[in-house]
Amino acid sequence: MLALVARRLITAIPTLLAIILASFFLMRLAPGGPFDGERPLPPETQAALQTAYGLDKPLWEQAWLYISRLAQGDFGPSLVYRDFTVSELVAQGLPISLTLGGLAIALALLIGVSAGLFAAVQAGKAADKTIMMLATVATALPTFVTGPALALLFGLWLGLLPVSGTGEGWSWLIMPVVALALPVSGAIAKLTRAGLATVLKQDHIRTARARGLPETKILFKHGLRPALVPVASYLGPAAAGLLTGAVVVETVFGLPGLGRYFVQGALNRDYPLVLGVVTLYAALIILFNLFADLIYGWLDPRMRDG
């Protein structure tokens, strides 16, 4: 088990490096630069800025400089928010994005697994079909539709929840988290239901039944863990999906998270900011996949040997 974690962490480093380098060179291939404002700057100022930010050096050297600074935890200065370093912006945005994403995945797991479980127990009945239909609808709900729609309903019409910004207390979290969690919870419900349907037909369930165990014990002790294997393998893509969704949700609800910085940075060609966010995102996703692998091993001991 430890060996697996170690192996994953070691392979994560080249992956991360590859992502950083790819993004780095892609950004530099782009026409236009960060200092192309509405009014063109005088050439001398342009040149001075280029030198100040090290943009006049050869590309490879810039890349090397960037990575070696990154290794020390320095993401460099933001080119657009000129008074901030990227580290400062990230330090500000990351907690918000992590709170959003963490709560959303917890909520999605809670709703998804219990809905899937309930549907599986009711297999074939009306409740099962209704839940599965709802789950399909939920998976097809894009956050950029549900977000504004929720804001319209609960914010503007009913006036129950704040429409924008972080504000007081935690009520500002409700709508963004729900909008994020909905599609994921639908997918988890379907996976749980399908997983249980497969597992409950398997031989070892019959063995447990032959032992005279009560059905609830069969379900929870013998059935649920193997049934959740597909859910575990979905967690990686789900995390990526949540991060993407967070970009929209942060934009819609005006939250100063990482996603907003990413979009702003991309639109303004703020290289260090975009690179910083992409690096963080990639690291988060890799970490999350590792976490999913560990859950995998717990759910099915056969995976531990692989």
């Binding site: 992502i19 609808v137 539709v145 504004p148 804001a151 929209v248 992409v278």
Partner: protein, 266 residues
Amino acid sequence: MRRLLNRVHWPLWVVLVLIALALILPLVLPWTYDQIDWEAVRAPAFSGSHIFGTDEIGRDRLARLAAGTQVTLMVAIAAALVSLVVGIAWGATAGWVGGKVDEAMMRFVDALYALPFMFIVILLMVIFGRSILLVFIGIGLVEWLTMARVVRGQVMTLKQRPFILAAEAAGTPPRTIILKHVLPNIAGVALAYLMLTVPQVVMVESFLSFLGLGVQEPLTSLGILVKEGADDMDMTPLGLLLPGGLLVIILVCLTIEGERLRDTFS
């Protein structure tokens, strides 16, 4: 073909009707999607010749919906086809050749799966300009991963099937085995996943357009319409609810149909 038609159920018919409407409406409506009616800014529904009213600068909503649906679905289908071709080529090669080649090819897919791909697409859009062609190439190149995995799995199991070995023993050349035995047997599953890829792509395209990174004005798409609606929702909620609802209906129908097909074939 008839077998295929018999398998079409109501969700797909809904989508087909919507496509037909999106194609026909622009020909019969008195307004085009970018034409401004100066006398009717933010007109309510059923006012004059504007069935669903007009937006905040006086453009006919229905005409814009039709145009947006056209663009969204066109991009989606094109990108799904790109993913189909790339996915089948990659997956079938890995599955058929097997061994270390397969191992390497699938590791590559696994690695890509773990990437924050949407961000790379966004980067691409930013860097190479926001052309519609790039939107669907970009999306298609992302969405092929699932197709490749599925096709590879199918080919791996097929390759072990005795009828493939029997065909080899019968002197059937490898090319013919792939064309006549392998492809027909994965066609159903590939079709199902193609159907499931389309809503994925619709989602991605609308997402990009929503952020202002996808389809560009004067062209419009459902994502752009949702964005415009969201910006103006305190004045005219219809502007958000119409394209949002339409988008959700298309996504739900395609997903149901795709999942049903997938369950029939696998």
